[in-house]
Amino acid sequence: MIRVVKASKTYNKGKPNQVDAVNEVTLHVARGEMAVIHGASGSGKTSLLTLIGCISRPTSGEIHVAGKTISRLPEKFMTMHRREHIGIIFQQFNLILDLSVEQNVGLPLFPLNMSKTLISERVDHLLAKMSLSKRRDFLVKQLSGGEQQRVAIARALINNPEILLADEPTAHLDTALTKELMETLAAIKKDARTIVIASHDPLVYNHPFVDRIFEMKDGKVVEE
Protein backbone atom coordinates (compact mmCIF):
# COMPACT_ATOMS: atom_id res chain seq x y z
CA MET A 1 0.00 0.00 0.00
CA ILE A 2 2.77 2.40 0.93
CA ARG A 3 6.26 2.02 -0.42
CA VAL A 4 8.97 4.60 0.16
CA VAL A 5 12.32 4.13 -1.56
CA LYS A 6 15.29 6.26 -0.58
CA ALA A 7 13.12 9.35 -0.23
CA SER A 8 14.64 12.58 1.01
CA LYS A 9 13.19 15.95 1.81
CA THR A 10 15.50 18.89 2.16
CA TYR A 11 14.26 22.33 3.12
CA ASN A 12 16.09 25.49 2.06
CA LYS A 13 18.47 23.54 -0.11
CA GLY A 14 21.84 25.21 -0.71
CA LYS A 15 21.17 27.87 1.86
CA PRO A 16 22.93 28.18 5.23
CA ASN A 17 19.76 27.08 7.03
CA GLN A 18 19.50 23.84 5.04
CA VAL A 19 17.61 21.10 6.87
CA ASP A 20 17.59 17.43 5.83
CA ALA A 21 14.21 16.63 7.38
CA VAL A 22 13.96 13.21 5.75
CA ASN A 23 17.11 11.48 4.61
CA GLU A 24 17.00 8.50 2.26
CA VAL A 25 14.17 6.76 4.04
CA THR A 26 13.01 3.38 2.80
CA LEU A 27 9.94 1.68 4.26
CA HIS A 28 6.99 -0.47 3.37
CA VAL A 29 3.52 -0.78 4.86
CA ALA A 30 1.08 -3.39 3.56
CA ARG A 31 -2.70 -3.03 3.19
CA GLY A 32 -4.61 -3.23 6.46
CA GLU A 33 -1.55 -2.76 8.63
CA MET A 34 -1.12 -0.30 11.45
CA ALA A 35 2.35 1.19 11.54
CA VAL A 36 3.87 3.61 14.04
CA ILE A 37 6.71 5.95 13.27
CA HIS A 38 8.45 6.53 16.55
CA GLY A 39 11.03 9.14 17.36
CA ALA A 40 11.83 12.27 19.32
CA SER A 41 10.41 15.57 18.17
CA GLY A 42 12.45 16.95 15.32
CA SER A 43 13.40 13.51 14.07
CA GLY A 44 11.47 14.02 10.82
CA LYS A 45 8.26 12.12 11.60
CA THR A 46 5.93 14.88 10.47
CA SER A 47 7.91 15.54 7.30
CA LEU A 48 7.76 11.86 6.41
CA LEU A 49 4.00 11.88 6.94
CA THR A 50 3.55 14.90 4.67
CA LEU A 51 5.50 13.04 1.98
CA ILE A 52 3.31 9.94 2.29
CA GLY A 53 0.22 12.11 2.59
CA CYS A 54 0.86 13.84 -0.77
CA ILE A 55 1.17 17.21 0.92
CA SER A 56 4.75 17.83 -0.10
CA ARG A 57 7.02 16.43 -2.76
CA PRO A 58 10.31 14.67 -1.98
CA THR A 59 13.57 16.25 -3.11
CA SER A 60 14.73 12.85 -4.28
CA GLY A 61 13.73 9.20 -4.13
CA GLU A 62 10.48 7.50 -4.94
CA ILE A 63 7.17 7.16 -3.14
CA HIS A 64 4.29 4.89 -4.13
CA VAL A 65 0.97 5.31 -2.38
CA ALA A 66 -2.27 3.46 -3.14
CA GLY A 67 -1.10 2.26 -6.50
CA LYS A 68 0.42 5.46 -7.81
CA THR A 69 3.89 6.92 -7.94
CA ILE A 70 3.45 10.30 -6.36
CA SER A 71 7.02 11.51 -6.02
CA ARG A 72 6.95 13.37 -9.33
CA LEU A 73 3.30 14.30 -9.52
CA PRO A 74 2.26 17.93 -10.01
CA GLU A 75 0.62 19.48 -6.95
CA LYS A 76 -2.83 19.35 -8.48
CA PHE A 77 -2.71 15.60 -9.02
CA MET A 78 -1.19 15.00 -5.60
CA THR A 79 -4.18 16.82 -4.17
CA MET A 80 -6.55 14.74 -6.25
CA HIS A 81 -4.82 11.54 -5.17
CA ARG A 82 -5.00 12.63 -1.55
CA ARG A 83 -8.70 13.41 -1.85
CA GLU A 84 -9.40 9.92 -3.07
CA HIS A 85 -7.20 7.73 -0.94
CA ILE A 86 -5.87 9.47 2.13
CA GLY A 87 -7.26 10.90 5.36
CA ILE A 88 -5.08 12.86 7.72
CA ILE A 89 -5.39 13.67 11.44
CA PHE A 90 -3.12 16.57 12.23
CA GLN A 91 -1.08 17.25 15.32
CA GLN A 92 -2.99 20.33 16.49
CA PHE A 93 -6.23 18.99 14.97
CA ASN A 94 -6.09 21.91 12.50
CA LEU A 95 -9.79 22.58 12.71
CA ILE A 96 -11.33 25.91 11.75
CA LEU A 97 -12.49 27.08 15.15
CA ASP A 98 -15.31 29.42 14.20
CA LEU A 99 -17.00 27.01 11.81
CA SER A 100 -19.57 24.48 12.96
CA VAL A 101 -18.76 20.82 13.53
CA GLU A 102 -20.79 19.92 10.47
CA GLN A 103 -18.88 22.28 8.20
CA ASN A 104 -15.49 21.24 9.56
CA VAL A 105 -16.19 17.61 8.86
CA GLY A 106 -17.62 18.32 5.39
CA LEU A 107 -14.75 20.59 4.40
CA PRO A 108 -12.81 18.08 2.25
CA LEU A 109 -15.94 17.35 0.18
CA PHE A 110 -16.76 20.94 -0.85
CA PRO A 111 -14.48 21.06 -3.89
CA LEU A 112 -15.81 17.73 -5.15
CA ASN A 113 -18.76 17.74 -7.45
CA MET A 114 -21.12 16.57 -4.75
CA SER A 115 -24.52 17.99 -3.87
CA LYS A 116 -25.10 19.64 -0.52
CA THR A 117 -27.61 17.04 0.58
CA LEU A 118 -25.22 14.20 -0.21
CA ILE A 119 -22.46 15.90 1.76
CA SER A 120 -24.66 16.44 4.75
CA GLU A 121 -25.87 12.82 4.63
CA ARG A 122 -22.31 11.60 4.75
CA VAL A 123 -21.43 13.99 7.55
CA ASP A 124 -24.44 12.93 9.61
CA HIS A 125 -23.57 9.30 9.19
CA LEU A 126 -20.03 9.85 10.37
CA LEU A 127 -21.00 12.12 13.25
CA ALA A 128 -23.36 9.42 14.51
CA LYS A 129 -20.55 6.92 14.38
CA MET A 130 -18.29 9.25 16.36
CA SER A 131 -21.16 10.02 18.80
CA LEU A 132 -21.01 13.69 17.87
CA SER A 133 -24.54 14.02 16.49
CA LYS A 134 -25.64 16.30 19.32
CA ARG A 135 -22.73 18.63 18.65
CA ARG A 136 -23.53 18.95 14.94
CA ASP A 137 -24.31 22.67 14.91
CA PHE A 138 -21.86 23.73 17.63
CA LEU A 139 -18.86 25.83 16.73
CA VAL A 140 -15.69 23.82 17.11
CA LYS A 141 -14.27 26.28 19.64
CA GLN A 142 -17.16 25.44 21.99
CA LEU A 143 -16.09 21.78 22.17
CA SER A 144 -13.84 19.98 24.63
CA GLY A 145 -10.41 18.64 23.64
CA GLY A 146 -11.68 15.09 23.27
CA GLU A 147 -14.60 16.15 21.13
CA GLN A 148 -12.34 18.23 18.91
CA GLN A 149 -10.17 15.18 18.49
CA ARG A 150 -13.17 13.17 17.32
CA VAL A 151 -14.17 15.91 14.90
CA ALA A 152 -10.66 15.76 13.44
CA ILE A 153 -10.96 12.01 13.00
CA ALA A 154 -14.38 12.35 11.42
CA ARG A 155 -12.98 14.88 8.95
CA ALA A 156 -10.12 12.52 8.10
CA LEU A 157 -12.59 9.74 7.36
CA ILE A 158 -15.15 11.74 5.38
CA ASN A 159 -13.69 10.77 2.01
CA ASN A 160 -13.70 7.09 3.02
CA PRO A 161 -9.91 6.76 2.64
CA GLU A 162 -7.89 3.57 2.29
CA ILE A 163 -5.05 5.13 4.20
CA LEU A 164 -5.28 7.07 7.44
CA LEU A 165 -2.33 9.13 8.59
CA ALA A 166 -2.13 10.56 12.11
CA ASP A 167 0.47 12.97 13.42
CA GLU A 168 0.94 12.85 17.21
CA PRO A 169 -2.79 12.31 17.70
CA THR A 170 -2.47 11.93 21.44
CA ALA A 171 -0.27 14.94 22.16
CA HIS A 172 -3.08 16.89 23.79
CA LEU A 173 -4.99 14.00 25.35
CA ASP A 174 -4.94 12.45 28.80
CA THR A 175 -4.54 8.74 29.36
CA ALA A 176 -8.22 7.88 29.29
CA LEU A 177 -8.80 9.79 26.04
CA THR A 178 -5.69 8.28 24.48
CA LYS A 179 -6.99 4.80 25.20
CA GLU A 180 -10.35 5.76 23.74
CA LEU A 181 -8.64 7.08 20.61
CA MET A 182 -6.65 3.89 20.15
CA GLU A 183 -9.88 1.91 20.40
CA THR A 184 -11.35 4.06 17.67
CA LEU A 185 -8.29 3.62 15.46
CA ALA A 186 -8.35 -0.11 16.03
CA ALA A 187 -11.96 -0.15 14.90
CA ILE A 188 -11.02 1.78 11.77
CA LYS A 189 -8.25 -0.67 11.04
CA LYS A 190 -10.77 -3.49 11.04
CA ASP A 191 -12.38 -1.91 7.95
CA ALA A 192 -9.22 -2.97 6.07
CA ARG A 193 -7.72 0.49 6.20
CA THR A 194 -4.01 1.12 6.41
CA ILE A 195 -2.98 3.35 9.31
CA VAL A 196 0.28 5.17 9.86
CA ILE A 197 0.77 7.05 13.13
CA ALA A 198 3.66 9.28 14.05
CA SER A 199 3.98 9.29 17.80
CA HIS A 200 6.38 9.06 20.72
CA ASP A 201 3.62 8.07 23.15
CA PRO A 202 4.19 4.60 24.68
CA LEU A 203 0.44 4.12 24.93
CA VAL A 204 0.37 4.28 21.15
CA TYR A 205 3.33 2.20 20.02
CA ASN A 206 2.81 -0.44 22.67
CA HIS A 207 -0.78 -0.98 21.59
CA PRO A 208 -1.47 -4.62 20.63
CA PHE A 209 -2.94 -3.69 17.23
CA VAL A 210 0.28 -2.12 16.00
CA ASP A 211 1.92 -4.29 13.32
CA ARG A 212 5.07 -2.34 12.63
CA ILE A 213 7.19 0.24 14.39
CA PHE A 214 9.73 2.41 12.60
CA GLU A 215 12.29 4.13 14.76
CA MET A 216 13.37 7.52 13.34
CA LYS A 217 16.35 9.64 14.24
CA ASP A 218 17.73 12.71 12.45
CA GLY A 219 15.63 12.07 9.39
CA LYS A 220 16.60 8.44 9.02
CA VAL A 221 14.80 5.22 9.82
CA VAL A 222 17.27 3.48 12.12
CA GLU A 223 15.25 0.43 13.08
CA GLU A 224 12.13 -1.45 12.12
Partner: protein, 340 residues
Protein backbone atom coordinates in the same frame (compact mmCIF):
# COMPACT_ATOMS: atom_id res chain seq x y z
CA UNK B 1 -9.91 63.40 -29.22
CA UNK B 2 -13.14 62.61 -27.51
CA UNK B 3 -13.41 62.16 -23.79
CA UNK B 4 -16.54 60.62 -22.39
CA UNK B 5 -17.40 58.06 -19.71
CA UNK B 6 -17.44 55.21 -22.22
CA UNK B 7 -13.98 55.95 -23.55
CA UNK B 8 -12.60 56.31 -20.05
CA UNK B 9 -14.06 53.03 -18.88
CA UNK B 10 -12.52 51.27 -21.86
CA UNK B 11 -9.12 52.64 -21.00
CA UNK B 12 -9.37 51.73 -17.34
CA UNK B 13 -10.13 48.12 -18.21
CA UNK B 14 -7.60 47.74 -20.95
CA UNK B 15 -4.80 49.40 -18.97
CA UNK B 16 -5.35 47.12 -16.01
CA UNK B 17 -5.36 44.07 -18.24
CA UNK B 18 -2.28 45.25 -20.12
CA UNK B 19 -0.36 45.38 -16.85
CA UNK B 20 -1.51 41.91 -15.85
CA UNK B 21 -0.81 40.48 -19.31
CA UNK B 22 2.74 41.74 -19.27
CA UNK B 23 3.20 40.09 -15.91
CA UNK B 24 1.73 36.87 -17.30
CA UNK B 25 4.16 37.09 -20.20
CA UNK B 26 7.22 37.35 -17.94
CA UNK B 27 6.00 34.23 -16.17
CA UNK B 28 5.53 32.49 -19.51
CA UNK B 29 9.07 33.41 -20.48
CA UNK B 30 10.38 31.84 -17.27
CA UNK B 31 8.32 28.72 -17.86
CA UNK B 32 9.39 28.29 -21.47
CA UNK B 33 12.98 28.66 -20.37
CA UNK B 34 13.27 26.76 -17.10
CA UNK B 35 10.38 24.28 -17.17
CA UNK B 36 11.61 20.79 -16.35
CA UNK B 37 8.95 18.33 -15.32
CA UNK B 38 11.51 15.82 -14.08
CA UNK B 39 13.14 18.22 -11.70
CA UNK B 40 12.30 17.82 -8.04
CA UNK B 41 13.82 21.13 -7.16
CA UNK B 42 12.04 23.93 -5.35
CA UNK B 43 12.33 26.11 -8.46
CA UNK B 44 10.16 23.81 -10.53
CA UNK B 45 7.50 23.81 -7.83
CA UNK B 46 7.47 27.61 -7.83
CA UNK B 47 7.08 27.60 -11.63
CA UNK B 48 4.13 25.22 -11.35
CA UNK B 49 2.50 27.61 -8.92
CA UNK B 50 3.26 30.63 -11.08
CA UNK B 51 1.67 28.96 -14.07
CA UNK B 52 -1.59 29.05 -12.13
CA UNK B 53 -1.32 32.82 -12.04
CA UNK B 54 -0.74 33.34 -15.74
CA UNK B 55 -3.54 31.00 -16.74
CA UNK B 56 -5.87 32.73 -14.29
CA UNK B 57 -4.96 36.07 -15.82
CA UNK B 58 -5.76 34.85 -19.34
CA UNK B 59 -9.09 33.45 -18.22
CA UNK B 60 -10.08 36.71 -16.56
CA UNK B 61 -8.63 38.41 -19.63
CA UNK B 62 -11.04 36.66 -21.98
CA UNK B 63 -13.94 37.78 -19.82
CA UNK B 64 -12.73 41.35 -19.79
CA UNK B 65 -12.04 41.31 -23.53
CA UNK B 66 -15.64 40.25 -24.17
CA UNK B 67 -16.94 43.01 -21.92
CA UNK B 68 -14.65 45.38 -23.75
CA UNK B 69 -16.12 44.40 -27.13
CA UNK B 70 -19.61 45.18 -25.86
CA UNK B 71 -18.29 48.37 -24.34
CA UNK B 72 -16.62 49.32 -27.61
CA UNK B 73 -19.94 48.90 -29.35
CA UNK B 74 -21.65 51.10 -26.76
CA UNK B 75 -18.95 53.71 -27.04
CA UNK B 76 -19.57 53.77 -30.76
CA UNK B 77 -23.28 54.20 -30.20
CA UNK B 78 -22.62 57.12 -27.88
CA UNK B 79 -20.18 58.56 -30.45
CA UNK B 80 -22.84 58.44 -33.11
CA UNK B 81 -24.53 61.36 -31.39
CA UNK B 82 -21.37 63.41 -31.65
CA UNK B 83 -20.01 62.55 -35.09
CA UNK B 84 -21.78 64.31 -37.95
CA UNK B 85 -23.40 61.94 -40.39
CA UNK B 86 -23.19 58.95 -38.09
CA UNK B 87 -26.53 57.71 -36.89
CA UNK B 88 -25.38 54.42 -35.41
CA UNK B 89 -22.30 52.46 -34.45
CA UNK B 90 -21.39 51.59 -38.03
CA UNK B 91 -21.21 55.25 -38.91
CA UNK B 92 -18.96 55.90 -35.94
CA UNK B 93 -16.70 53.05 -37.01
CA UNK B 94 -16.33 54.58 -40.44
CA UNK B 95 -15.35 57.93 -38.99
CA UNK B 96 -11.70 57.09 -39.44
CA UNK B 97 -9.55 54.27 -40.78
CA UNK B 98 -8.93 52.67 -37.38
CA UNK B 99 -12.53 51.85 -36.50
CA UNK B 100 -13.19 48.57 -38.28
CA UNK B 101 -9.66 47.17 -37.78
CA UNK B 102 -10.01 47.90 -34.06
CA UNK B 103 -13.28 45.98 -33.89
CA UNK B 104 -11.95 43.00 -35.86
CA UNK B 105 -8.78 42.90 -33.79
CA UNK B 106 -10.79 42.82 -30.59
CA UNK B 107 -12.66 39.83 -31.90
CA UNK B 108 -9.38 38.19 -32.89
CA UNK B 109 -8.00 38.68 -29.39
CA UNK B 110 -11.09 37.09 -27.88
CA UNK B 111 -10.76 34.22 -30.35
CA UNK B 112 -7.09 33.59 -29.53
CA UNK B 113 -7.84 33.76 -25.80
CA UNK B 114 -10.59 31.21 -26.28
CA UNK B 115 -8.32 28.85 -28.23
CA UNK B 116 -5.65 29.23 -25.58
CA UNK B 117 -8.11 28.39 -22.84
CA UNK B 118 -9.03 25.18 -24.68
CA UNK B 119 -5.36 24.15 -24.82
CA UNK B 120 -4.95 25.11 -21.19
CA UNK B 121 -7.98 23.09 -20.24
CA UNK B 122 -6.53 19.99 -21.88
CA UNK B 123 -3.17 20.63 -20.25
CA UNK B 124 -4.53 20.85 -16.72
CA UNK B 125 -5.85 17.33 -17.11
CA UNK B 126 -2.44 15.88 -17.94
CA UNK B 127 -0.39 14.54 -15.09
CA UNK B 128 2.84 15.07 -16.99
CA UNK B 129 2.05 18.66 -18.00
CA UNK B 130 2.72 17.61 -21.55
CA UNK B 131 1.48 20.80 -23.16
CA UNK B 132 2.73 23.37 -20.68
CA UNK B 133 5.72 24.62 -22.63
CA UNK B 134 3.72 24.58 -25.84
CA UNK B 135 0.87 26.56 -24.36
CA UNK B 136 3.10 29.23 -22.91
CA UNK B 137 4.86 29.58 -26.21
CA UNK B 138 1.42 30.13 -27.76
CA UNK B 139 0.81 32.89 -25.27
CA UNK B 140 3.42 35.00 -27.02
CA UNK B 141 1.17 35.13 -30.08
CA UNK B 142 -1.26 37.07 -27.96
CA UNK B 143 1.22 39.78 -27.04
CA UNK B 144 1.47 41.57 -30.40
CA UNK B 145 -2.28 41.20 -30.90
CA UNK B 146 -2.99 42.87 -27.59
CA UNK B 147 -0.48 45.58 -28.29
CA UNK B 148 -2.17 46.32 -31.63
CA UNK B 149 -5.58 46.16 -29.99
CA UNK B 150 -4.53 48.77 -27.49
CA UNK B 151 -2.81 50.94 -30.11
CA UNK B 152 -5.65 50.82 -32.64
CA UNK B 153 -8.23 51.69 -30.07
CA UNK B 154 -6.14 54.57 -28.87
CA UNK B 155 -5.57 55.81 -32.43
CA UNK B 156 -9.24 55.49 -33.21
CA UNK B 157 -10.36 57.68 -30.34
CA UNK B 158 -7.47 60.10 -30.83
CA UNK B 159 -8.35 60.64 -34.47
CA UNK B 160 -12.06 61.05 -34.03
CA UNK B 161 -12.79 64.48 -35.34
CA UNK B 162 -16.29 65.76 -34.61
CA UNK B 163 -15.97 68.00 -37.68
CA UNK B 164 -15.51 65.29 -40.28
CA UNK B 165 -18.67 63.96 -41.79
CA UNK B 166 -18.98 60.18 -41.99
CA UNK B 167 -21.48 57.87 -43.60
CA UNK B 168 -24.03 55.87 -41.69
CA UNK B 169 -24.89 52.21 -41.91
CA UNK B 170 -27.51 52.94 -44.52
CA UNK B 171 -24.62 53.72 -46.83
CA UNK B 172 -22.24 50.95 -45.77
CA UNK B 173 -24.79 48.17 -46.07
CA UNK B 174 -26.67 49.63 -49.00
CA UNK B 175 -27.67 47.25 -51.75
CA UNK B 176 -26.38 49.27 -54.69
CA UNK B 177 -23.20 50.52 -53.10
CA UNK B 178 -19.62 49.39 -53.46
CA UNK B 179 -17.27 47.79 -50.98
CA UNK B 180 -17.47 44.81 -48.68
CA UNK B 181 -20.49 45.82 -46.62
CA UNK B 182 -22.59 46.43 -49.67
CA UNK B 183 -21.65 43.23 -51.45
CA UNK B 184 -22.75 41.29 -48.38
CA UNK B 185 -25.99 43.17 -48.18
CA UNK B 186 -26.75 42.50 -51.82
CA UNK B 187 -26.41 38.74 -51.40
CA UNK B 188 -29.83 37.41 -52.39
CA UNK B 189 -31.75 36.85 -49.13
CA UNK B 190 -33.56 33.74 -50.40
CA UNK B 191 -30.33 31.95 -51.30
CA UNK B 192 -28.75 32.98 -48.02
CA UNK B 193 -31.77 31.73 -46.13
CA UNK B 194 -31.60 28.43 -47.94
CA UNK B 195 -27.88 27.98 -47.20
CA UNK B 196 -28.48 29.01 -43.63
CA UNK B 197 -31.25 26.52 -43.00
CA UNK B 198 -29.71 23.65 -44.92
CA UNK B 199 -26.74 23.89 -42.56
CA UNK B 200 -28.86 22.86 -39.58
CA UNK B 201 -29.59 19.26 -40.59
CA UNK B 202 -26.00 18.85 -41.82
CA UNK B 203 -24.66 19.98 -38.48
CA UNK B 204 -27.10 17.91 -36.46
CA UNK B 205 -26.35 14.73 -38.38
CA UNK B 206 -22.61 15.34 -38.08
CA UNK B 207 -23.03 15.81 -34.34
CA UNK B 208 -25.11 12.66 -34.08
CA UNK B 209 -22.58 10.65 -36.06
CA UNK B 210 -19.69 11.83 -33.90
CA UNK B 211 -21.52 11.12 -30.66
CA UNK B 212 -21.80 7.46 -31.63
CA UNK B 213 -18.49 7.01 -33.37
CA UNK B 214 -14.97 8.31 -32.86
CA UNK B 215 -13.54 9.70 -36.05
CA UNK B 216 -10.48 11.95 -36.18
CA UNK B 217 -11.40 13.31 -39.59
CA UNK B 218 -14.93 13.83 -38.36
CA UNK B 219 -13.69 16.00 -35.51
CA UNK B 220 -11.61 18.12 -37.86
CA UNK B 221 -14.55 18.44 -40.24
CA UNK B 222 -16.88 19.39 -37.43
CA UNK B 223 -14.65 22.24 -36.32
CA UNK B 224 -14.11 23.36 -39.88
CA UNK B 225 -17.83 23.31 -40.48
CA UNK B 226 -18.29 25.29 -37.27
CA UNK B 227 -15.99 28.01 -38.60
CA UNK B 228 -17.78 28.07 -41.97
CA UNK B 229 -21.12 28.22 -40.22
CA UNK B 230 -19.85 31.13 -38.16
CA UNK B 231 -19.13 33.08 -41.35
CA UNK B 232 -22.41 32.02 -42.96
CA UNK B 233 -24.27 33.14 -39.85
CA UNK B 234 -22.70 36.60 -39.84
CA UNK B 235 -23.48 36.96 -43.56
CA UNK B 236 -26.98 35.66 -42.90
CA UNK B 237 -27.55 38.21 -40.16
CA UNK B 238 -26.55 41.02 -42.52
CA UNK B 239 -28.42 39.70 -45.51
CA UNK B 240 -31.80 38.68 -44.08
CA UNK B 241 -32.04 38.38 -40.28
CA UNK B 242 -31.39 42.07 -39.67
CA UNK B 243 -33.92 43.25 -42.30
CA UNK B 244 -36.54 41.04 -40.67
CA UNK B 245 -35.72 42.47 -37.26
CA UNK B 246 -36.08 46.02 -38.60
CA UNK B 247 -38.96 44.90 -40.83
CA UNK B 248 -37.29 46.91 -43.57
CA UNK B 249 -35.95 45.08 -46.63
CA UNK B 250 -33.24 47.68 -47.22
CA UNK B 251 -31.80 47.95 -43.72
CA UNK B 252 -28.94 45.48 -43.22
CA UNK B 253 -26.94 46.90 -40.32
CA UNK B 254 -25.68 44.01 -38.11
CA UNK B 255 -24.99 46.29 -35.15
CA UNK B 256 -28.23 48.16 -34.60
CA UNK B 257 -30.01 44.92 -33.77
CA UNK B 258 -28.42 45.25 -30.33
CA UNK B 259 -30.42 48.39 -29.64
CA UNK B 260 -33.12 48.69 -27.08
CA UNK B 261 -35.75 49.29 -29.78
CA UNK B 262 -35.24 45.72 -30.92
CA UNK B 263 -35.33 44.33 -27.39
CA UNK B 264 -31.56 43.75 -27.34
CA UNK B 265 -32.12 40.70 -29.53
CA UNK B 266 -28.68 41.22 -31.10
CA UNK B 267 -26.92 40.50 -27.81
CA UNK B 268 -28.73 37.19 -27.50
CA UNK B 269 -28.02 36.30 -31.11
CA UNK B 270 -24.31 37.05 -30.91
CA UNK B 271 -23.92 35.42 -27.49
CA UNK B 272 -25.39 32.15 -28.80
CA UNK B 273 -23.35 32.39 -31.98
CA UNK B 274 -20.05 32.91 -30.16
CA UNK B 275 -20.63 30.19 -27.59
CA UNK B 276 -21.67 27.74 -30.31
CA UNK B 277 -18.62 28.56 -32.46
CA UNK B 278 -16.32 28.30 -29.46
CA UNK B 279 -17.46 24.78 -28.60
CA UNK B 280 -17.41 23.76 -32.26
CA UNK B 281 -13.71 24.54 -32.24
CA UNK B 282 -12.94 22.18 -29.37
CA UNK B 283 -13.19 18.79 -31.18
CA UNK B 284 -10.84 19.71 -34.02
CA UNK B 285 -8.40 21.56 -31.84
CA UNK B 286 -8.10 18.77 -29.29
CA UNK B 287 -7.76 16.29 -32.12
CA UNK B 288 -4.79 18.34 -33.23
CA UNK B 289 -3.37 18.30 -29.69
CA UNK B 290 -3.55 14.51 -29.68
CA UNK B 291 -0.69 14.50 -32.14
CA UNK B 292 1.51 15.95 -29.42
CA UNK B 293 1.45 12.52 -27.79
CA UNK B 294 1.64 11.78 -24.07
CA UNK B 295 -1.53 10.93 -22.19
CA UNK B 296 -3.62 13.43 -24.15
CA UNK B 297 -5.43 10.63 -25.92
CA UNK B 298 -7.32 9.54 -22.82
CA UNK B 299 -8.24 13.02 -21.73
CA UNK B 300 -9.72 14.60 -24.82
CA UNK B 301 -12.25 11.95 -25.89
CA UNK B 302 -14.66 12.95 -23.18
CA UNK B 303 -14.07 16.63 -23.88
CA UNK B 304 -14.80 16.20 -27.57
CA UNK B 305 -18.07 14.46 -26.97
CA UNK B 306 -19.21 17.00 -24.39
CA UNK B 307 -18.30 20.03 -26.45
CA UNK B 308 -20.11 18.66 -29.50
CA UNK B 309 -23.23 18.35 -27.39
CA UNK B 310 -22.90 21.86 -25.98
CA UNK B 311 -22.17 23.38 -29.39
CA UNK B 312 -25.22 21.72 -30.90
CA UNK B 313 -27.43 23.07 -28.14
CA UNK B 314 -26.18 26.59 -28.76
CA UNK B 315 -26.37 26.31 -32.55
CA UNK B 316 -29.99 25.29 -32.21
CA UNK B 317 -30.62 28.20 -29.83
CA UNK B 318 -28.95 30.53 -32.30
CA UNK B 319 -31.00 29.32 -35.24
CA UNK B 320 -34.18 29.52 -33.21
CA UNK B 321 -33.41 33.09 -32.19
CA UNK B 322 -32.69 34.13 -35.76
CA UNK B 323 -35.89 32.48 -36.92
CA UNK B 324 -37.94 34.32 -34.33
CA UNK B 325 -38.12 37.72 -36.12
CA UNK B 326 -38.98 35.97 -39.39
CA UNK B 327 -41.78 33.98 -37.79
CA UNK B 328 -43.09 37.05 -36.01
CA UNK B 329 -43.07 38.98 -39.27
CA UNK B 330 -44.92 36.19 -41.09
CA UNK B 331 -47.57 36.07 -38.38
CA UNK B 332 -48.03 39.82 -38.35
CA UNK B 333 -48.08 40.17 -42.13
CA UNK B 334 -50.08 36.96 -42.58
CA UNK B 335 -47.57 35.29 -44.84
CA UNK B 336 -46.20 38.31 -46.65
CA UNK B 337 -42.75 38.39 -48.19
CA UNK B 338 -40.45 41.07 -46.86
CA UNK B 339 -38.19 41.05 -49.90
CA UNK B 340 -40.74 41.25 -52.70
Amino acid sequence: MILNPWVISMYVGILGMALLYSYALTISAQIVRYWDINSMEEGQLILERKSYLSSTIIQYGLGIEIVSIVLFYMTLESMAEVIPGAMCATGALKANMYGFPALFLKMAVAFVCAVWIIIHHVDTKLEDFHLTRFKYRCLFVLAPLLLCDFALQFLYFLNLDPNVITSCCGVVFEIEGEGFGSSVASLPPETMMLTFFISIPILLSMGYFLSTKKSPIGYYLYSLFGLILFVISILGIISFVAPYIYEMPTLHCPLNIMRREYHYIGYLLYAFLFIASFFSLVPGLSEFLKRKGGQIQNVVDDMQRKSIKISIVFWVLFFATSLLPIVLFEIRSEGGNLFS
